[in-house]
């Protein structure tokens, strides 16, 4: 194990079922995601992609089935080993980009890059002192993505990470994801377009 790489773990989801408001969204969904792997989660609108991600990060209780994290210590909890970047970006508009990232780093632990360095990586070094409320949708998304860099966590759960990003930023994100996979991380990304990852498996929910 080289320094900077994650210890090998495996996420195992078996027979997951999801019911929202009494309506069955999906059932019998099984997959595994090991270190160094990426899954592109596809499916039509409303197929349950975001619900699956909410289940994986522990916000939604599965209606059936189990989610296991193998090889991650005594109390393997996926929520504490994963990053979530979703539609709700988890940013406070009144705080600056730097403050938001510093907060995320303190709360998530396992500090990696400093907030200013992470912002430089996503090309927002100049925006560190600006309140997030002043940023555009794409810039906000990039601040949220910079969260992936301020603390080290092996699983990245991304809900349509490419949305609102320009071409250059999409390439930047693809580069970050490749680096993460090379270090033994794992990625599950709900997407409608190409992720820019060669080895990504496709997991399709629904018809």
């Amino acid at each position: 194990m080289t320094p900077g790489s994650f210890s090998p773990t495996r996420l195992l989801a078996e027979n997951l079922a999801c019911r929202r408001g009494g309506r069955l969204i999906f059932e019998r969904l099984s997959f595994s995601l090991a270190s160094g792997e990426a899954i592109a989660l596809t499916g039509r609108n409303g197929a349950g992609k975001s619900s699956l991600i909410a289940m994986l990060c522990g916000r939604l209780r599965p209606d059936g089935g189990s989610i296991l994290l193998e090889g991650a210590g005594d109390e393997p909890a996926l929520a504490e080993n994963s990053h979530l970047v979703g539609h709700r970006d988890g940013l406070k508009t009144a705080l600056t980009a730097g403050e938001n990232l510093a907060f995320a780093q303190a709360v998530l632990g396992d500090a990696a890059l400093a907030p200013a360095e992470a912002l430089a990586v996503v090309g927002l070094a100049h925006a560190a002192e600006l309140p997030v409320g002043y940023l555009s949708a794409g810039q906000r998304r990039r601040v949220a993505l910079a969260r992936l860099l301020v603390s080290r966590r092996p699983y990245w759960l991304l809900d349509e990470p490419m949305s609102a990003l320009d071409t250059a930023s999409q390439a930047m994100l693809a580069g970050l994801m490749r680096d993460h996979l090379a270090q033994g991380g794992a990625i599950l990304a709900a997407t409608h377009g190409p992720l820019g990852l060669d080895g990504a498996r496709e997991l399709r929910i629904g018809p």
Binding site: A54, C57, G58, R59, L60, A79, E80, S82, H83, L84, G86, H87, R88, D89, G90, L91, K92, T93, A94, L95, E99, A102, F103, A104, A106, V107, L108, G109
Partner: protein, 222 residues
């Protein structure tokens, strides 16, 4: 873990102090209420000073309740709560940090401006410090009982109305013992300490129960 706790506390304090953070809302509401009451009652100083402690306590209670629905809802809406859930910090401690920040930005300032507002309701001089003391130890109970209600309403789109309805009945004991302690200091048959110590006990119990209840409600959300 301590770092995450302090980060949540500091962030909530920073948010409350920025424009539109809602930190001032409680204070302005309190001020408005207490300023208007003497006009409504008319020029009867004796009546005013007799019900002064009750007016100030009622004003403080309503002021604390008024912004409470946003305590967890704003974090739920923008996804910050997912971030807090993903922390190694137990949810109970996260709630404790948020409740503490809420008290520091509402209950504490309310208690501190009470001497000034006491003048408006002709509060006798010897009653000022005891009243401030009752507000200091009583308002944490309001923040933490409120946190339980706010957590239940966190994931409801229009949960704003439900929070005061849920929380107000639970705050009745705080109001009763807060006002009776403040009145006892102005003379009467009961010594000040008797209701005051009960108020302290209610506050301590509310901090524990409110924290655990709010964390449980947040886990069940959605």
């Amino acid at each position: 873990m301590t770092r995450a706790f302090i980060a949540i506390l500091k962030r909530d304090l920073a948010l409350a102090s920025r424009a539109g953070g809602g930190g001032e809302l409680a204070l302005v509401f309190f001020l408005t209420l207490v300023v208007l009451v003497p006009f409504a009652l008319g020029p009867d100083l004796n009546l005013l000073s007799r019900i002064g402690p009750a007016i100030l306590w009622l004003g403080a209670l309503l002021s604390v309740l008024i912004g409470l629905d946003r305590l967890f809802q704003s974090d739920e809406e923008d996804g910050s709560l997912d971030l807090i859930r993903a922390s190694a910090l137990p949810l109970e401690l996260a709630v404790l940090a948020k409740g503490l920040a809420h008290w520091l930005t509402t209950g504490l300032p309310l208690a501190l401006i009470t001497p000034l507002l006491g003048l408006l309701v002709a509060l006798p001089g010897e009653g000022v410090l005891p009243l401030v003391a009752t507000l200091l130890v009583g308002t944490p109970a309001l923040s933490f009982i409120g946190a339980g209600g706010a957590a239940l309403a966190a994931s409801l789109r229009r949960g704003g109305l439900i929070v005061p309805v849920l929380v107000a009945p639970l705050t009745v004991p705080v109001l009763i013992f807060g006002v009776s302690a403040a009145n006892a200091a102005l003379g009467g048959t009961v010594p000040f300490l008797t209701p005051f110590l009960i108020l302290c006990a209610i506050s301590l119990a509310a901090i524990v129960v409110g924290t655990v209840a709010a964390a449980a409600a947040l886990r069940q959300a959605d």
